[in-house]
């Protein structure tokens, strides 16, 4: 099992490409999307993604909208906001809407890795809890 399975969403293709390469090199599965719609479509087809790293400012469906949609449809997937905005407002909004954390562009790779790891850990923990709960439920039923 890889360290994490990350979906990178940003309209800046070179950024996504390089970032993907760097993350892969650090033993992380990366798939990428260049818009909110793409990202949602990809999430629809693949259930591997654990963490979405999402740029706030994108043409079309922007980061915040995409975040809302992801939280609605895939509540277990963690989202890390990536922002060129230094505005606390957008970060706060993202956090309110259930983002795991936010990072400023350009971001330090170590920092990003740290956040991704934390997010994955949380996600996996939550999944475990759910599985546990299910097991309990099933065992309770059987008992």
């Amino acid at each position: 099992m890889t360290l994490a399975n990350v979906l990178l969403v940003d309209d800046e293709r070179p950024f996504v490409e390089t970032m993907s390469k760097r993350l892969r090199k650090r033993d992380i599965d990366v798939c990428s999307a260049h818009s909110g719609d793409d990202a949602l479509g990809l999430l629809e087809t693949s259930n591997q993604v654990e963490v979405v790293v999402l740029d706030v400012k994108m043409p079309g469906m922007d980061g915040i909208e995409t975040l809302q949609e992801i939280r609605r449809r895939f509540p277990l997937i963690e989202v890390i906001m990536l922002t060129g905005h230094a505005t606390v407002e957008s970060a706060i909004e993202g956090m309110k809407l259930g983002a795991f954390d936010y990072l400023m562009k350009p971001c330090d790779m170590g920092h990003l890795l740290e956040k991704v790891t934390e997010a994955v850990a949380r996600k996996r923990k939550q999944e475990e809890k759910i599985i546990e709960a299910r097991i309990k439920e099933i065992t309770a039923r059987r008992a």
Partner: protein, 592 residues
């Protein structure tokens, strides 16, 4: 006052304000003078007319009364004589003793008016005489009066000297005896007749006299002068309409003074009663009133003119002051607008730059990653590669910091306002800067008033403001070290914080620009030029003021004034002036 001097000088030099003053003076003068002139003129005119009427009426009445008096006097005497002539026969009257008795009786009844009596036969010889003069047997055949008297029933002569050599006139009544006319004549005392007109005296120059048709005096005039025929001739002709027999004209007299002539015809139009008075004398009341009016008019006019000048000057001064204030306000608005639009621009730039920088940093990171691989690790320039990549990374981070600052200039970081104690914040910021200050040999002193009211502001923004100011001061004093004093004190509901350093000061030429964005005097790469404009924007946004005083080689003092409640600065007597870039003579030399 200083501002007044400036204003006055300003008004005196600016053609716009001079024209304005002139216009106002003119309007005030015209508006004030027009009704004054109209009212004064109309009243004076009416007064003059009615006064003339009054004087004319008065004089007319006077003259008419005297005309009647004189006519009555003459008629009375004539009647007396006629009575004598009719009542007694020629033979009776020819008797001198009888005649004497009659004279005595007349004088007893009528006073000394009758001087003498005489009976003259048609040959002109005086048959009988009673009186003080020795005129018995006098012959009047050649006398003018006798000729006239023979022709009519009664006759009153003009005044003449006659045989006795004294001015007198004669009243004669004709009668017939034995188909021959005879005449009873009486001499009237000139003095008593003269009194009738001599008593008419008004003012200094008003007097009356009587003229005959030849223009000779029939009375003794008060002032001796020779009446010219031409001057009075027209009074005898009846071309001009006379009111109740009285005619009033104004003309120049013998000595060329304008005079009033009031005339009435006497004695069957033979004589002319003239009352003459110099106009100036007759209308002296009017003249006095006019003089008073003129004096009041001049004094009032001068007062109005002085007032107009004074008031216009005051008004224009006020207008000029208001204009100046408006101009200052406009500049402030422009300044604020400039900062705002620059903020928008900065936000846009930082967004656009962040992405490429992020990519560049990522690419550098990728290269770094690749360098980890075995074959490249042995490259002899590996260290140089790594150094260059590190440099790219560092510069990328610098870019990020710049864009961050730009953004905070445009949209503040946590900009929500709380009520908090500014003293605590200052203490925190000073503690933060303490390490740096120690290296720069700078001493930071705080003198904080313990009972400050809380201010409503964003804590992070205020931290930024004080950090910026302290950092600027530290930068400025980097070479020599020095001392920073921070005071806080309340004043009239506002809170003031003063941050004074004894650094190199700000040259005058930089003064007006220190709050402008991107203005810096620091070496390239050391400062963004945004620090002070961010401070300015933050303080302005929360309704406060920031201003600066600086003297080269003495130091720089920033003063921040913050509102405590309601978000508005309360005006104070020594409140700092609003517009920092304009305000002071010399400002801080270190960069924003």
């Amino acid at each position: 006052m200083d501002t007044n001097m400036i204003n006055t000088a300003f008004i005196n030099t600016s053609p716009y304000y001079r024209a304005l003053t002139r216009k106002m003076v003119l309007i005030v003068i015209v508006v004030s003078f027009t009704p004054m002139i109209l009212v004064t003129g109309i009243i004076l005119r009416h007064f003059s007319v009615s006064h003339h009427e009054k004087v004319y009426a008065h004089l007319g009445e006077l003259v008419q009364k005297h005309k009647q008096n004189i006519d009555n006097f003459l008629q009375e005497k004539l009647n007396d004589i006629m009575f004598l002539a009719d009542a007694f026969s020629y033979s009776q009257l020819s008797d001198e003793s009888f005649l004497n008795r009659q004279l005595v009786a007349l004088r007893r009844n009528f006073g000394t008016v009758f001087v003498d009596l005489g009976v003259v036969e048609d040959s002109g010889r005086q048959v009988a005489y009673a009186g003080p003069f020795k005129l018995e047997k006098a012959n009047y055949a050649d006398s003018q009066w006798f000729e006239q008297a023979l022709k009519r029933r009664t006759y009153i002569s003009d005044v003449f000297l006659g045989l006795r050599g004294m001015p007198h006139f004669i009243i004669a009544a004709r009668n017939r005896f034995a188909e021959k006319p005879w005449i009873l004549r009486a001499t009237i005392d000139f003095v008593s007749f003269n009194n009738l007109v001599e008593n008419v005296r008004i003012g200094e120059t008003g007097f009356a006299y009587i003229l005959n048709k030849a223009g000779r005096f029939q009375t003794k005039p008060l002032v001796e002068f020779s009446p010219q025929k031409g001057c009075y001739g027209h009074f005898f002709s009846c071309e001009e309409p006379a009111v109740k027999g009285i005619r009033i004209t104004e003309r120049q007299d013998e000595s060329r003074r304008k005079s009033i002539y009031v005339t009435a015809l006497l004695k069957n139009d033979d004589w002319l009663l003239v009352y003459k008075q110099v106009s100036a004398d007759a209308f002296s009341d009017l003249r006095n009133t006019q003089h008073i009016a003129v004096v009041i008019f001049i004094v009032g006019g001068l007062a109005i003119i002085a007032m107009a000048f004074w008031m216009s000057k005051r008004m224009v001064e006020r207008i000029a002051r208001a204009d100046k204030e408006k101009e200052m306000m406009n500049q402030q608005v422009i300044e604020t607008g400039k900062l705002a639009s620059l903020g928008e621009l900065a936000a846009g730039i930082s967004h656009e730059i962040n992405n490429p920088v992020a990519i560049m940093v990522e690419e550098a990171g990728w290269i770094e990653d690749l360098l980890e691989e075995e074959d490249l690790k042995r490259s002899k320039n590996l260290d140089e590669f790594l150094r260059a990549l590190k440099q790219i990374n560092t510069q990328g981070k610098r870019c990020k910091e710049i864009t961050l600052k730009l953004l905070s200039f445009a949209r503040k970081t946590d900009s929500r306002a709380h009520l908090f104690q500014i003293n605590a914040l200052i203490t925190d910021v000073v503690a933060l800067s303490a390490q740096r200050a120690k290296f720069g040999k700078v001493e930071i002193e705080t003198q904080l008033s313990p009972n400050l009211p809380e201010v409503e502001a964003s804590v992070s923004e205020m931290q930024q403001v004080f950090l910026n100011l302290i950092n600027n001061a530290l930068d400025a004093m980097e070479k020599r070290g020095g001392r920073i004093k921070i005071n806080s004190y309340p004043d009239n509901g506002n809170v003031h914080i003063q941050l004074a350093d004894d650094g190199p000061g700000i040259p005058r030429s930089n003064l007006s620009r220190i709050f402008d964005p991107f203005y810096t005097t620091k070496p390239v790469g050391k400062g963004t030029g945004l620090g002070l404009s961010i401070c300015y924007g933050i303080i302005k946004k929360m309704g406060g003021e920031i201003h600066v005083k600086s003297v080269v080689d003495v130091g720089t003092t920033f003063t921040i004034s913050l509102p405590t409640e309601g978000g508005r600065l309360k005006p104070a007597a020594d409140a700092p002036v609003a517009n920092p870039p304009e305000n002071d003579t010399v400002k801080k030399g270190d960069a924003p």
